[in-house]
């Protein structure tokens, strides 16, 4: 009885000593500070301003080859849009040059027979839409925009002439969860995933490897330290660091970038903790296995950072990936975290979604941390 009490106090003393050492090292290491505190804020701003899937700044050209009243009316309604910058020209060649120089992302030609063919009831008036196919997103955006503008104008004209204009279906889009359809609201929660991955996996992938490289692990192993103390002393400080960094990210997102947050903070902390454990587990596993900082960092970049960026659904929609790649995404913890973060930020505490994601994150955490514990040796072999 007395013996186990002694053991417990020893456990606690050693764990505190190791955690204090680890914390001091983090605070004194400029690169850790940079990754934990500066990088998140920098990344958030880069992602929110750099990766913008919205189109308010897209330029589109309009070539007026017909000078009829109808042509000018259509041009007016086209130019009046708040969503586009429209550049007009009378000359097709000029626009072709502009699209080459990417000063416009596409252009619409109102051909010289526009009004004439519009008058003929049996004919259809042609509009030529040319888009820059090198950026498919923008190209389809230009196309859709033109289609919409055309429909609008026809409607408007029918009203003016007192005629009834009929289209088969009229679309009235409502963007749920993100009413203004701002991509920032979608990108930022995903970006937090990438940041958590960097802190959880990249930073921790270095720490055990560093102790091996510098020979301090050997000295530690010759003391009465146990395996559990050793592992916990790596998990606890980096977990705390990750949570601090998360709170900074959320504060910047909500207060500086005005991203809505509809879930509750304690749920966010719970989900993030689960994800952090899986990322920490992966990082620690790498550094335990490689014992070499360079290899561990390579592993973390390829095994955690890139998948979190590409295969998590953060930027690229998972459902539009080939089936086999879709299947791979199920193995990536970041996928579940991105989904949960999107839900928490834009929809709120939707438990059916959150619980499923938390379940998979918990499995990943147990898997990676368990494997690390198994691979951690009390000896040098």
């Amino acid at each position: 009885m007395d013996d186990s009490k002694m053991n417990f106090s020893g456990f606690f003393r050693r764990l505190v000593a190791l955690c204090r050492k680890e914390t001091r090292q983090i605070l004194r290491d400029p690169s850790s500070n940079l990754i934990a505190f500066v990088l998140p804020v920098a990344l958030l701003f880069i992602y929110s301003y750099g990766i913008n899937l919205d189109s308010t700044s897209v330029s589109i050209g309009l070539v007026l080859e017909d000078s009829s009243r109808e042509a000018r009316q259509f041009a007016d309604s086209f130019i009046g849009s708040p969503y586009m910058k429209v550049v007009t020209s009378l000359n097709r060649a000029e626009m072709e040059q502009a699209i080459m120089e990417t000063t416009v992302r596409g252009f619409v030609v109102i051909p010289e027979d526009f009004a004439r063919r519009l008058q003929r009831p049996t004919d259809t008036a042609p509009l030529l839409v040319v888009t820059d196919g090198t950026e498919p997103n923008l190209a389809s955006f230009v196309e859709n925009y033109t289609r919409g503008a055309w429909q609008n104008w026809l409607q408007h004209r029918a009203d003016e002439h007192g005629r009834k204009f009929t289209t088969a279906i009229s679309l009235e889009p409502r963007y749920w969860f993100n009413p203004s359809a701002e991509s920032r609201n979608f990108i930022i929660p995903g970006a937090i995933t990438v940041i958590m991955t960097v802190i959880g996996a990249l930073l921790t992938s270095l720490v055990i490897a560093r102790e091996w490289e510098r020979g301090t692990m050997e000295a530690l192993l010759a003391t009465p330290v146990t395996r559990a103390e050793l592992l916990l002393s790596k998990i606890i400080p980096y977990y705390a660091l990750g949570i601090v960094s998360l709170l900074i990210c959320v504060a910047v997102a909500v207060f500086a970038l005005h991203v809505p947050f509809r879930g509750s903070l304690w749920v966010l902390l719970m989900v993030s903790s689960l994800f952090l454990f899986s990322a920490l587990g992966f990082g620690l596993l790498l550094s335990t296995m490689t014992r070499n900082q360079f290899n561990a960092a390579q592993g973390a970049l390829n095994g955690a950072f890139l998948p979190a960026l590409i295969l998590s659904g953060f930027i690229y929609e998972i459902r539009s990936m080939p089936l086999i790649i879709q299947a791979v995404t199920y193995l990536i913890p970041a996928r579940y975290f991105v989904n949960a973060m999107h839900t928490l930020f834009m929809a709120g505490n939707i438990w059916s979604v959150l619980l499923r994601n938390m379940f998979f994150l918990a499995i990943a955490s147990v898997f990676f941390l368990g494997l690390t514990a198994l691979k951690t040796r009390r000896r040098l072999e």
Binding site: R13, R24, R214, E218, A219, L220, A222, L380, E381
Partner: protein, 575 residues
């Protein structure tokens, strides 16, 4: 009272995937109240054996008992009784002295009042009181070593394991450490001190001498040294080249081993052999032979079957470099600053053709910095470096064609095979076509690389890598050879073979500049400069330097004595 605290019975360790055992069938005992020297060159298995004793590795055969327990099964108890200092001292460089001590005190359960007394005792003992707030990374090599020792001593271990504590530390700190260790031993502790310096073996109460994983000798070192009594001689006041004299002496069957010692030649005879007649050695009429004390190294070489002989096939193949005995290397007020820190400060020296010039000093003294400036690898902050009359500041690449450079740690490409390394380095030095092929073939023949041409060098022993590095540096037949720590860590037989080649090349007219931290190695040089804290504190022939510190207490000082004394004279006494 001395008692046996550790017993090794036929201990062996074969690492997975390794072809050869790192430690093979070693039996020995370690006693309290003694320093046990674990002695041998790199690759002897010293570190593996220490780790086995610390319970950090499990043996693949045999049995270890430390303090009545098995190092692995009884690890929990034994860790309290074993103090261990790994090679890099095991310190956290971004923690202060006190934080390092506190961490290890917490881990070893030294708390409360016990901690206070322990810290006071250890800080006094190591003289680190003034530096408690300094980061460990900012300490000098000697201070790091003391802090590592203090951390290992927390919790009052009964057995202290020190893995190469003397490496990279200046001779003064090394002596202080020895004094500290002797104190600990006097209090009844058992200390295991591993080292590649054979001269340290003579300071130990007991030695475990190893080579390539095998035990050569275990016991009291004087027992081993005494075997050589009456077999060691010094030939003094000889005329002509002492290098040629050594070669002639080594040709004789009765001579087992020989080295150059300043102006003299030191010979070791085979067991039962009579000394060769001086007339037969053609050493001149004035030369005299004096019997000298045997050394531990003599016994080691004897145990390995004798020295490598005195003929250098390499030198035979090399061209003679004619020319007058003029200055070919000249450094004038050479200074290199890294920020505020002067790694080399106002260094001035000159070397004549066919001379061996040595820069001698501990790690971090500024030898390598000076060296790199002399071969045009580093631009000096101020001062001039001239080689063969060429100013390295202006036409370094022109000068480099006539230099051979052998880098520290024998830098070879580990992903290239032996042959590819030879091809690469000969190409870099400008050899092409038939000439290149001839030179490579010669090297393969001279150094017997034949069976290993397709192997990568990192799978081969250190001595082999050293030969390869030498081959790569001399293939283009340079006028001047720069050797940076050329024999660091290699066994004494390989070291002698190396110096045989160098001596042979010098006889052909090659000029050699060498850095070393082995005080003994300076004896091969014609002239030596002692480097300490960035500056040259003394220069001259090895005999002159030793003589300059001779006193009635120490009539025949060693190179290390000279170094320590000269450093002391140069440094203002600080209170």
């Amino acid at each position: 009272m001395s008692e046996v605290i550790a017993i090794l019975e036929n201990v062996g360790k074969l690492f997975p995937k390794a072809k050869k055992s790192a430690v093979e069938d070693v039996s020995a005992q370690i006693q309290t109240g003694l320093v046990t020297g674990l002695v041998g060159p790199d690759g002897a298995g010293k570190t593996t054996l220490i780790r086995l004793m610390a319970g950090l590795l499990a043996p693949t055969s045999g049995r270890l008992r430390i303090d009545g327990g098995d190092p692995i099964a009884d690890a929990a108890r034994l860790r309290e009784n074993i103090g261990y200092m790994p090679q890099k001292f095991g310190l956290y460089e971004d923690l202060s002295v006190e934080e390092n001590l506190t961490l290890y005190a917490d881990l070893r359960g030294v708390i409360g009042a016990e901690r206070e007394t322990a810290f006071k005792r250890l800080l006094d003992f190591t003289d680190l009181v003034r530096f408690t707030n300094r980061l460990a990374g900012k300490l000098s090599g000697g201070m790091k070593q003391k802090l590592g020792l203090a951390c290992a001593l927390l919790g009052k271990p009964r057995i202290l394991l020190l893995d190469e504590p003397g490496v990279g530390v200046d001779p003064i700190s090394r002596r202080e450490l020895w004094k500290m260790v002797k104190d600990l031993v006097a209090q009844g502790m058992a200390v295991v001190w591993s080292t590649a310096y054979l001269d340290e073996a003579e300071l130990c109460g007991q030695v475990i001498l190893m080579n390539e994983g095998k035990l050569i000798f275990a016991g009291v070192p004087s027992v081993m040294t005494e075997r050589m009594n009456g077999r060691c001689f010094l030939i003094q006041s000889c005329q002509g080249s002492r290098r040629q004299l050594l070669t002639r002496a080594l040709r004789r069957p009765e001579v087992m081993d020989g080295v150059i010692q300043g102006h003299s030649v030191r010979l070791v005879l085979r067991k039962g052999a009579a000394a060769p007649k001086l007339s037969e050695l053609q050493a001149g009429p004035e030369c005299v032979t004096t019997p000298v004390a045997s050394r531990f190294e003599d016994a080691f070489i004897d145990a390995l079957g004798g020295g490598p002989g005195g003929e250098s096939l390499l030198a035979e193949r090399m061209r003679s470099i004619p020319g007058p005995k003029e200055t070919v290397i000249k450094a004038g007020n050479l200074t290199k600053k890294f920020g505020d820190f002067a790694a080399a400060d106002q260094v001035t020296f000159s070397v004549a053709r066919g001379e061996i010039f040595g820069l001698l000093g501990p790690n971090g003294a500024g030898k390598s910095t000076t060296f790199r400036m002399m071969c045009g690898l580093l631009a000096p902050t101020s001062g001039t470096a001239r080689v063969m009359g060429i100013d390295l500041a202006h036409s370094a690449s022109k000068a480099r064609q006539r230099l051979g450079y052998m880098a520290q740690k024998f830098s070879l490409y580990s992903s290239l095979s032996v042959l590819q390394n030879l091809e690469f380095f000969s190409g870099v030095y400008g050899l092409r076509g038939a000439k290149q092929q001839t030179q490579i073939d010669e090297m393969v023949e001279v150094f017997k690389f034949g069976p290993f041409l397709d192997v990568t060098p990192d799978t081969l022993p250190l001595g082999f890598k050293q030969r390869m590095a030498l081959a790569c540096a001399v293939m283009h037949e340079p006028d001047i050879l720069f050797l940076d720590e050329p024999t660091s860590g290699v066994d004494p037989v390989t070291r002698r073979e190396f110096w045989t080649h160098i001596n042979g090349l010098v006889e052909k007219g090659v000029t050699v500049m060498v850095t070393t931290h082995f005080m003994d190695e300076a004896e091969y040089c014609d002239r030596v400069a002692l480097v300490y804290r960035g500056g040259i504190i003394a220069a001259g022939t090895p005999d002159d330097l030793k003589q300059s510190v001779a006193s009635t207490n120490n009539p025949d000082p060693s190179m290390e004595d000279a170094f320590i004394e000269l450093v002391g004279r140069n440094e203002p006494v600080n209170g």
